[in-house]
């Protein structure tokens, strides 16, 4: 639906324009954008269109919704233009003025468009939501036959979770002593019963008493901003998901990635970790602090004796293919990473559950047989005797 351009929208644009007057189009924002290779125009062009007052062009730009709000563009800007914040405000404007602009609806449209090219939507959680809202037919969601299984798995997980720990998880290890650490589970982890169980198991084995916060629901994914979680906490909160990490930080809640905390503790206690394979390629995604996350993964490698394959594709914050929250087919960066891992016969390990799913979809599409593990699927406490990880969906 066309954007209604009225005086107040023009005024908003005039205000935005003032903030990017200093931009001289060096292109470093687009160069640095993890989604850049798959963008139609990229942040630089959006800023240019804002400068030129091309409201229509900005508002109809799908790239706005491909932003995962990692903030790299703002960091590298020579002229201190807060590109990420401008993109975010543009999304808010589009929701306000764009008529249809419910982001999910928009996503559905884009997904439906892609259905012309590709037979189905691979991101199951997303596809399911779309299907349940009637935006797309059920039979195009997921790999053949997977839909029903996933639905039941998810529904079960939700029922079991019920915002409390699913049964079996805390029981997997003795409740560790020590003060309870607030833990924000987010929306994705409780939907994956296995990952959820492993998370609690490894935390307990290392000595963390995870107290799942009651109010933790949707963090309000940063690129969407549609849902404010309203969650507050007085002390640092552990998170298992980089998206939660980013959006809670933005809401003023102090967070620590659970995986970093676990590795730090294990190192301090001189407690070895167990790795599920001999070597792995780290993939940190776009939302985390890349250097910190890579350093933590390197520490985990040292503790577990696994070899970490640190090289260019892994170092670069390439997009997993989520392109702003929804899977849109494998990105150039993801293909590069998976190719590298396949060549090295190494497992890809990521601290982001969403990246894991998206990378698995990307691997499938690229016909690459690469194991892709979420952090707790790869690392476990050496003395916990954890089962070998399953290789995700049984689709390979």
């Amino acid at each position: 639906m066309a954007t209604t351009i009225d005086a107040s929208l023009r005024q908003e644009f005039a205000r935005l324009r003032e903030e990017c007057l200093l931009c001289y189009q060096c292109g470093q924002c687009t160069s640095s954008c993890p989604n850049g290779g798959d963008l139609e125009r990229g942040p630089r062009r959006i800023i240019r269109d804002v400068q030129a007052g091309e409201i229509e062009a900005v508002m109809s730009n799908e790239d706005l919704w491909r932003c995962s709000e990692c903030g790299t563009c703002s960091d590298v800007c020579r002229m201190d233009v807060d590109v990420a914040a401008i993109l975010k405000r543009l999304r808010a404007l589009e929701r306000q003025y764009g008529g249809q602009r419910c982001p999910e609806r928009e996503a559905a449209d884009i997904a439906a468009k892609r259905l012309g090219k590709y037979p189905r939507i691979d991101n199951l959680a997303f596809g399911m939501t779309m299907a349940s809202k009637g935006h797309v037919p059920k039979d195009v969601v997921g790999a053949a036959g997977a839909f029903t299984r996933i639905v039941s798995q998810t529904v079960n997980a939700r029922m079991k979770a019920g915002r409390a720990a699913p049964e079996g998880a805390p029981a997997a290890a003795a409740k560790p002593a020590g003060p309870a650490r607030p833990f924000y589970a987010g929306c994705a982890l409780p939907q994956d019963a296995d990952a959820y169980r492993r998370t609690h198991a490894v935390a307990a084995a290392i000595g963390f008493n995870l107290a799942e916060t009651e109010a933790a629901a949707c963090c309000g994914h940063p690129s969407r901003g549609t849902v404010g979680s309203g969650f507050t906490a007085d002390e640092p909160v552990l998170t298992a998901c980089p998206a939660c990490d980013a959006s809670l930080e933005e809401a003023g809640v102090q967070t620590t990635p659970l995986w970093e905390a676990l590795v730090d503790r294990a190192r301090r206690d001189e407690r070895p970790l167990k790795a599920a394979a001999e070597s792995f390629v780290p993939y940190v995604g776009c939302l985390v602090d890349r250097e910190r996350a890579l350093a933590s993964l390197a520490d985990a490698a040292a503790l577990s004796g696994a070899r970490i394959e640190l090289s260019y594709p892994a170092l670069h914050a390439a997009c997993c293919g989520a392109l702003g929250g929804m899977y849109r087919g494998s990105s150039e960066g993801a293909r590069r990473l998976l190719g590298f891992a396949a060549e090295r016969r190494a497992t890809v390990v990521t601290p982001c559950l969403l990246c894991r799913d998206n990378l698995r979809s990307a691997a499938r599409r690229a016909h690459l047989s690469v194991p892709i593990h979420f952090w707790p699927e790869f690392f476990s406490a050496a003395d916990a005797g954890s089962a070998a990880p399953t290789d995700g969906d049984a689709h390979d």
């Binding site: 001289y24 060096c26 090289s311």
Partner: protein
């Protein structure tokens, strides 16, 4: 202060007795063909007559028809009057010459054209000692008003009365008359050395102080330079042969007996002042003496490396022809091996550092600039083997040339990244100007040596402004260098350590991945390492990027903010060699002029009145020239009642004072006597507004704003007679109290016209005026007075618009703003000649009684 202070003294005396002049020429009344003159006294004789000013009324050859000169003459009670029809004509000047003798010792007040115009017309007499003050009744009254004769005549009378009553001081006080005939040059790079040589040739004694052991600086060490593509180690030669140059080591200019070179020396402290600085210079010994024949025996036995690791502790570098070798005192262990080996006993370890005081009339800072340090380019992978700077590439190119001659290729793909760390608000905000040309030079060289090599320049804008520069860009494109518009935010490395660059090709709108063998960063330049200390020692300012601040980038590009301290070359920002050379010659001439001048002429310095000064530091902070300091109050100095024992006293250094009056305007106690006193200013306001209904007061600076106003007057751009202008030496002289006084005298509005923004010749006059205007607005608001105030920035280009500004401001101040008719009339004037129409505009606003728009008589 009385409205007619000047008139009061004489008002009781009888008037009307006319006293003829020497009888030469017909009398006044404006219609004689010869210059008229007539002196009208008032019966006073002898000493009284001598004490009275003599007013020279000029009718400007009949062009001031809207002034009733008879009435003007009769109404002028404070002075004797001599009328003339055309004082600047041949006969008029002759008469003036006679008056210079007959009226010697009397104050002469010329009432006619503007000060600037009169100064040119009477130039010859002025240079023969004529002293006269000017009351501008032409550009200031007649020519800018319509035919309302009584009103214009009244205004002219006010102007003359104001000039007689409150004279402006003359600008002929000389300070800093002592000029030591010597120069200290800091920095022996090409800029400093060339300037030093030229100054020495002009006959000045020159001390060239260089921190390093060798002259020549950076330019001499970097290989070839653009745009000439040859070495940077030459200076113009001294044999007065046009167009010749010689290398440092062959150039006898450096051997000029007037030039003393201080190697390995630094300036430690500076005292004294412009014209006679006392500079303490510290010199480290060179150890190797002039006897050295450069055999290299010492180097072959030296066991230590120099601190840069590239050479031995006894080493040679750029050969400037005088000092051949030197010793790195940081790493030398004084083992003496070299001493034993030296065949000519040129190594003398008994030398020790010395400290000397040098007298210099002027100081030249030519400290140059440095390549940006690592922290500005680390994000682009600097430090990694595959990433170099252009400077490092320049050194590598010599080796690569060798490889090319053997048919080898050291790299297949090279990517140059422009603006590396530059034009970035988090790193170096400035453009270093040279990097584009250096990249072009190197890329062409690479393509010449290795035609198959892929050379890509990632750029933002190619800045090739300069004579012949664009040809380099053309040549690079022709040579097949690829230009990619867009710069990467980071450089990464793959498993083999090869650089990977992901960058947006901006015009194409797509991202590309480059995998070169070598990344070359075009890093910028930063101020010289020592510049902060030097600026502190010299007490001069640095600009926002940390380079030495130029006093006036347009007209005084080689002066620093310190009087008598000059600058040239890249000390003020990165510059190409040709610009450094040009500036070196320019600064030599400037310094020559400075040393040859008799001193700085200005108005008498301001004086602090101890009985009013409470010892606050407002004036100290306000003075743009650092001429005021607080001292312990002497026991015998008077003090205000509220000041107890410890009260300090502000003192103005008369040598440093430029008499701008900013301190006087800012002093909360009005304790500083400027040569144009507060009483005089209040008096001028009073005289100029007396009897005027709804006057609009305009204070203006006599420099740029004055030029705009007087040029506008010469174009006869008219405005209402109730606008009254008061000239100041600098707008900074205006204090809030003067503005409030004008409002209290009934001013309907007050405008202040200063020089173009940031261009005050007293540096901070416009800033001070803006502060005082804001303060006045507060005071007026408190007093419940609604008087519009405006601050304008004018220069000569505003001559066509200043009349309109005044008319519109008048309309705003006296009514509700410009009427539709007025705006229509004003619109018709834009772009047209102004005179007649402007008067019509006046009519629209003031509706004068009687008279009609003056015809086109200019």
């Amino acid at each position: 202060m009385s409205a007619s202070a000047g008139g009061k003294d004489v008002s009781a005396q009888p008037t009307g007795n006319s006293e003829r002049g020497n009888g030469a020429g017909p009398s006044a009344r404006g219609n004689g063909s010869a210059p008229g003159n007539g002196t009208r006294g008032n019966g006073a004789t002898g000493a009284d007559v001598a004490a009275r000013p003599l007013a020279l009324l000029c009718e400007c050859a009949g062009t001031m028809e809207n002034i009733d000169f008879a009435a003007l003459e009769n109404g002028l009670v404070a002075a004797d009057v001599v009328r003339g029809r055309h004082w600047c004509g041949r006969e008029g000047q002759g008469r003036l010459l006679e008056l210079m003798e007959s009226a010697a010792g009397r104050r002469l007040v010329f009432a006619g054209c503007s000060q600037d115009f009169a100064a040119r017309r009477f130039h010859r007499l002025l240079s023969r000692g004529l002293k006269m003050e000017v009351a501008d009744i032409r550009e200031g009254a007649s020519w800018v008003h319509d035919g309302d004769v009584p009103a214009v005549t009244g205004k002219a009378a006010s102007i003359i009365a104001s000039t007689i009553g409150y004279p402006a001081p003359s600008n002929d006080t000389l300070v800093r008359e002592h000029r030591e005939n010597s120069v200290l040059v800091i920095g022996g790079g090409v800029a400093g050395t060339q300037a030093a040589c030229e100054l020495a040739q002009m006959g000045h004694s020159v001390h060239l102080v260089e921190r390093r052991p060798f002259l020549g600086g950076r330019a001499a060490r970097i290989g070839t330079v653009f745009p000439t593509n040859d070495c940077g180690q030459c200076l113009p030669s001294t044999d007065a042969q046009a167009g010749t140059r010689k290398c440092f080591h062959r150039n006898v200019a450096i051997d000029d007996p007037n030039l003393q070179v201080w190697r390995r020396s630094t300036v430690e402290s500076v005292s004294g002042g412009p014209g006679d600085f006392e500079v303490a210079v510290r010199r480290l010994p060179n150890i190797v003496t002039d006897a050295c024949v450069n055999c290299g025996a010492c180097e072959s036995v030296c066991p230590e490396q120099a601190s840069d690791g590239a050479s031995k502790a006894i080493f040679t570098e750029f050969y400037d022809g005088r000092v051949v070798r030197t010793v790195d005192l940081d790493t030398c262990t004084f083992c003496g091996a070299c001493v034993e080996q030296c065949p000519v006993q040129a190594i003398d370890f008994t030398q020790s550092p010395e400290r000397t005081t040098v007298h210099a009339g002027a100081i030249l800072t030519a400290v140059g600039c440095e390549p940006a340090p690592e922290k500005f380019i680390n994000h682009l992978g600097y430090g990694h083997d595959g990433v170099k700077t252009q400077l490092e590439l320049a050194e590598m190119l010599d080796d690569w040339e060798g490889q090319a001659s053997l048919g080898r290729t050291p790299a297949t793909e090279v990517v140059m990244v422009q603006c590396a760390g530059s034009r970035d608000r988090q790193r170096l905000p400035h453009c270093s100007r040279l990097c584009c040309m250096i990249a072009l030079k190197h890329s062409i060289r690479l393509k010449t040596l290795f035609p198959a090599m892929k050379v890509t320049i990632c750029y933002l804008e190619m800045r090739t402004a300069g004579a012949g520069y664009e040809n380099w860009y053309l040549a690079a494109r022709r040579a097949g260098v690829e230009f990619l518009r867009g710069t990467p935010p980071e450089v990464q490395f793959d498993g083999e350590g090869k650089p990977v660059i992901e960058v947006e090709d901006v015009p194409a709108g797509r991202k590309v991945v480059l995998r070169p063998d070598l990344v070359v960063l075009s890093a910028g330049m930063v101020p010289a390492i020592d510049v902060e200390r030097i600026a502190q020692v010299l007490n001069i300012d640095l600009d926002e990027d940390g380079f030495i601040e130029i006093l006036d980038r347009k007209n005084r590009a080689t002066e620093t903010t310190g009087e008598g301290i000059f600058v040239c070359g890249s000390a003020t920002g990165p510059k190409a060699l040709i610009e450094c050379n040009t500036e070196a010659s320019a600064v030599a001439s400037e310094i020559h002029n400075f040393l040859a001048s008799k001193g700085r002429s200005c108005a008498p310095a301001s004086v602090v009145q101890a009985e009013k000064c409470v010892g606050c530091d407002v004036c100290v902070a306000a003075c743009p020239f650092g001429a005021i300091s607080l001292v312990e109050r002497p026991d015998d100095a008077p003090r205000p009642q509220e000041v107890k024992d410890e009260g300090k006293l502000a003192v103005v250094d008369a040598e440093a004072c430029h008499a701008c009056g900013i301190c006087a305007a800012n002093c909360p106690e009005m304790a500083i006597a400027h040569n144009l006193s507060d009483d005089a200013l209040f008096g001028r306001v009073s005289v100029m507004t007396e009897g005027v209904e709804k006057p609009v007061i305009g204070f203006y600076c006599k420099e740029c704003a004055g030029a705009a106003i007087s040029l506008s007057g010469q174009q006869r751009d008219a405005y209402p007679t109730s606008v009254r202008l008061i000239e100041l030496p600098c707008l900074g002289r205006v204090s809030a109290l003067h503005i409030v006084a004008a409002a209290k005298q009934g001013a309907a509005g007050v405008f202040l016209a200063g020089c173009a923004e940031g261009r005050c010749q007293f540096r901070r006059g416009d800033i001070s005026a803006a502060e005082q205007t804001a303060l006045a607005e507060e005071l007026l608001a408190e007093a419940g007075m609604d008087v519009p105030l405006e601050l304008w920035h004018l220069c000569a280009v505003d001559r066509a618009s200043v009349g309109r500004r005044i008319r519109l401001f008048h309309a705003k101040a006296t009514g509700n703003g410009a009427s539709a008719e007025m705006l229509e009339a004003e619109a018709g004037l834009i772009g047209a000649g102004v005179s007649a129409g402007a008067c019509a505009t006046c009519s629209a606003t003031t509706a004068p009684t009687g008279g009609e728009p003056r015809g086109d008589n200019n």
